[in-house]
Symmetry: C2
Subunit: 111 residues, 2 copies
Amino acid sequence: MINSDNAKAQMRKGVLELCILSILSQGEAYPTEIIDKLKETKLVVVEGTLYPLLTRLKNTGLLSYRWEESSSGPPRKYYFLPEIGQNYLNELQLSWIELVNAVNTTIQNTK
Amino acid sequence: MINSDNAKAQMRKGVLELCILSILSQGEAYPTEIIDKLKETKLVVVEGTLYPLLTRLKNTGLLSYRWEESSSGPPRKYYFLPEIGQNYLNELQLSWIELVNAVNTTIQNTK
DNA sequence: TATAGTACCTTGCTATACATAGTAACTAAA
DNA sequence: TTTAGTTACTATGTATAGCAAGGTACTATA
């Protein structure tokens, strides 16, 4: 059987930004927490993916962060959504719904 | 307002293969037809994207084609799914459903 | 002091799709 | 004969995402 793992990975791309912003709209979190939450829904992400993405979102103003001391290690960067990020997230969620509808229409016609 | 067009485009990537195979599992079609069907569901694709993708799928054995004369232009390449392609499509559809569930779970937790 | 655990970050790589532009062949109508 | 329309195909450069692997730094505890 032909392996579909790569195609699977390709489909995951592009939705990470949406998922991360969604998680942060729930409340602030630091990177390790974000990774754990994504794991719960089977969207596995590694640090090498997450950190550059967070930095990019911060540089465009869609995310902010504050430092907080930790009693169990180095200080943590707690990220949170400013209002502009929340607005952007709303747009992304709309786009996601439209995409799902478009793909499902295409798939369902085949049955 | 920050533009979400790029994020939109990124989300579309990776599902194209699924959509094209789904369309062909409905019955054979030639590239221009495929583009038109994708347009119907707002998944706009241009030739420069479609042709390399069809060639890749054909080279891995997931697609086949036959030539057919046309009364309104040059002969058309009708693509269709051999059985192995159908099996692969079934895997992709499963992956798609899993992805949608994972993302929707993440989004819905934020409300 | 040394080690383990936690946390942040960087660099180099691959794959995909896009934009754009071009070639070629066939049909039909002006 | 020329033009327009249809169809297939190719080539090149760009942007982006995500991954693998490794490095840096802080804290607590043995």
